[in-house]
């Protein structure tokens, strides 16, 4: 070939492509793959998928039936004297700002100027806004410039309406704040319809005192405002002050939390545990199996005997002991569950390495001058990857199942003291809350989600295994 031939090279079909095609033909496996991918996406993008903050408790709507849509009405904070409550770290809504609105009534002497200062650096401004959605007993009759007339149970009142932003440190000397109710005996009640903006990751704490009296407001433990007042009603609102609407597709639990949202975040937890524990088992198993297969001989027999012995143990018992002894930190669980699964992986890898070792193309590579490292990286590893991938896909659902099992028994994993609510934990909650059978959705939906996920992953794994079956290599 002395001249350059403009030859067109026919593209070949690698074994991966072959296997992929075969996989596509297996309908159940394809369905399984789609479902799994979908769930994985949901788990990753949980924040954006979720309609409602899963930790948001709506105590008015305990045990909400599936399919409800409602305004989030002002909630009363059910609290005991002296207790403090806080809203959890505001991490769930993507954009980073949340608005809370509460009516605060403050007694002040008539005509006194009011101070409102922001003492926390994190609060950049406090907005006094119009009252747009009013309590039922109050009605806006007329607007006259910057004054509005309200009618309420005790008559009519004309008040100044303010829409003002107050910057940090500014003193409000000459503000008359809108009033909603009459003063009594020379002291006026000042009602602030206060909308507070808090940035992500802040903790809003309403300091309460007996019978739900809001005394103070703290953001990240810095006191922002203190009140001497009566009045409560805290409500999360949209930016314009209007209340949200919550759609509860799958119902609500004992604390009024949306089940769908909890399931979505449960997906994240379950998948996370599944993947990490599988990775742990992968590292141990692949290394162990590869060494055993590669070295062979007595070392191999010994290593495999160990595996055989360990195989005979009912693992869950040890895991339970482990978790009860060392605490329920999620990292313990990663290791415990990974330690259960590595045996199978080791066996598989060892088998593959053994059979590969005898293959003539390995000898050919050596005859071509390839050393151990070359053969390892160029031949052994690529040919083992297929098998590893298949069994990884089958291990993940197994781990998820085991984790659910443990959660069910009360050993759900924790992170920094907070329980991580995986599907298993949710199922357990469902059983606890079953009562006399009327709260069926709390059990059925988590259970079904779990079952469907496991199904799908198992079908996918089985399909992959068939697709990579060496007997079918080369055939379409």
């Amino acid at each position: 070939m002395s001249t350059s031939d403009p030859v067109k090279f026919v593209a070949g079909r690698s074994l991966w492509q072959d296997a992929f095609r075969r996989l596509l033909r297996n309908r159940m496996a394809v369905v399984g793959a789609i479902v799994t991918l979908l769930l994985a996406c949901i788990a990753i993008f949980a924040e954006w998928v979720v309609p409602v903050d899963p930790t948001y408790q709506e105590l008015h709507h305990r045990f909400g039936v599936p399919g409800q849509v409602h305004d989030t009405t002002p909630e009363r904070l059910f609290l005991v004297e002296g207790e403090r409550t806080s809203f959890p770290p505001l991490r769930y809504r993507g954009k980073g700002t949340r608005h809370f609105r509460f009516l605060v009534q403050q007694r002040i002497a008539t005509g006194v100027h009011v101070h409102l200062s922001a003492r926390s650096k994190k609060v950049r401004k406090i907005q006094l806004t119009r009252i747009d959605s009013l309590p039922e007993s109050v009605e806006r009759i007329e607007v006259r410039g910057d004054r509005e007339v309200f009618r309420h149970g005790k008559g009519e009142e004309e008040v100044t309406v303010l829409d003002k932003e107050i910057v940090l440190g500014e003193k409000l000397d000459d503000v008359f704040l809108p009033l909603l109710s009459r003063a009594s005996r020379g002291r006026q009640k000042l009602v602030l319809n206060q909308v507070v903006r808090a940035e992500t990751n802040q903790t809003l704490t309403f300091d309460l005192e007996s019978d739900q009296t809001v005394r103070g407001l703290r953001i990240d433990n810095q006191t922002v405002a203190t009140y001497d007042l009566v009045g409560r009603l805290v409500q999360e609102v949209r930016r314009d002050g209007k209340p949200f609407q919550h759609r509860h597709l799958l119902g609500q639990d004992m604390h009024g939390r949306d089940l769908f949202s909890r399931l979505v975040f449960g997906a994240r937890i379950s998948f996370l545990i599944g993947v990490v524990a599988t990775l742990v088992s992968l590292f141990i198993g692949v290394f162990y199996g590869a060494v055993a297969g590669w070295v062979g001989g007595r070392v191999d027999s010994f290593m495999m005997r160990v595996v055989d012995i360990l195989y005979g143990i009912p693992y869950m018992f040890l895991v339970i002991i482990l978790m009860t002894s060392f605490g329920r930190d999620v990292r313990v669980m990663f290791i415990a569950l990974g330690a259960v699964q590595w045996l199978t992986m080791a066996r598989i890898v060892r088998g593959q390495v053994l059979s590969l070792k005898e293959k003539e193309y390995i000898e050919a590579a050596r005859a071509s001058g390839g050393g151990g490292f070359w053969i390892l990286t160029r031949h052994l590893i690529p040919n083992t990857l297929g098998v590893i991938a298949v069994y990884t896909t089958l291990t993940i659902p197994s781990v998820i199942l085991q984790e659910s099992f443990l959660s069910f028994l009360g050993l759900s994993p924790e992170w920094q003291g907070q329980p991580l609510e995986s599907w298993g934990a949710l199922t357990w909650n469902g059983i606890q809350a079953l009562g006399t059978g009327q709260n069926w959705w709390l059990l059925v939906f988590p259970a079904m989600t779990l079952a469907i996920t496991l199904f799908s992953m198992n079908f996918l794994g089985d399909g992959l295994r068939d697709a990579f079956d060496p007997q079918m290599k080369g055939r379409t």
């Binding site: 070939m1 031939d5 030859v7 067109k8 090279f9 026919v10 593209a11 070949g12 079909r13 690698s14 074994l15 072959d18 001989g297 007595r298 027999s301 293959k359 003539e360 193309y361 000898e363 050919a364 590579a365 050596r366 005859a367 071509s368 001058g369 390839g370 070359w374 160029r378 031949h379 690529p382 040919n383 290599k473 080369g474």
Partner: protein, 330 residues
Amino acid sequence: MNPEKSSPLLRVRGLKKHFPVHEGLFRRQTEWVRAVDGVSFDLYSGTTLGLVGESGCGKSTLARLILRLLEPTEGQVEFEGVDVSGVSMREFRSVRKDMQIVFQDPHASLDPRMTVESIISEPLRIFGLNQRKERRWRVLELMDLVGLDPAFLKRYPHEFSGGQRQRIGIARALALEPKMIVCDEPVSALDVSIQSQILNLLEELQERLGLTYLFIAHDLAVVRHISDIVAVMYLGRIVEMATASKLYESPQHPYTQALLSAVPIPDPEIERKRKRILLEGALPSPRQFHPGCSFASRCPVVDASCRSTPQTLREVTESHRVACHLVKTS
């Protein structure tokens, strides 16, 4: 047909390979498997030495010993006058280029995950020769040499037929321009019609490139066609070695005779008159140690002394050696 050089390209002396056998609960070593039990021969440049024998007689092990894919238990291998069996692997590496191998199984000898291009160019890559473009040139050259359509460069082994895969294997063996190629039953796994194609290819390449072959097979007809000298192996030892024509026309060793009697001759008249020598008994286990002739248990003309007297290859006529003390020297 005659040796062109006075010193052989490859010289094997007393090569032995014994595998230890581990048995029992603790894998104690109980016995040895004598796969190759003292083999010696010379191979001259440009010629083909055919090696025949039943399955399990040690031919493939011998092939691997020569290429140092296995380490010999005893014995020596000399290539171009240099001892290559005792040196370190690093030193041996430079000799690797000169001796290559073609395998029997066209399926297992090619990595299913590599393209044809990768497979053939692998030796080139390992030895650090050539840039990618040069490598590709060389690969296309080789493909042309073995009769493969260059358009298939990017294809994968499973997309080829058995015969084509063997061509790929041959191309790979030729990549480093070796002087000697060990062919380990290269056509045994192929259809009969394809066998002749590949054999012709091998012969053609030998002439064009001046190659030396060690051709291993169990099919006598195939070996006869391609070899200059033929050696017959039984249980790890060479029992007869002669030029092809002499061996086939007048086999001396009882084993060779039995083998040849089983090969059908296309002339029905002669075929009818021939007597088949049937061997009694089964192939003895290579674990057993035979102080005398290893063939004694099945030999139709065995006598008392056969089992105890060690047999060596003696020259009975010119360039015809036999390891049987019952054969008279002329």
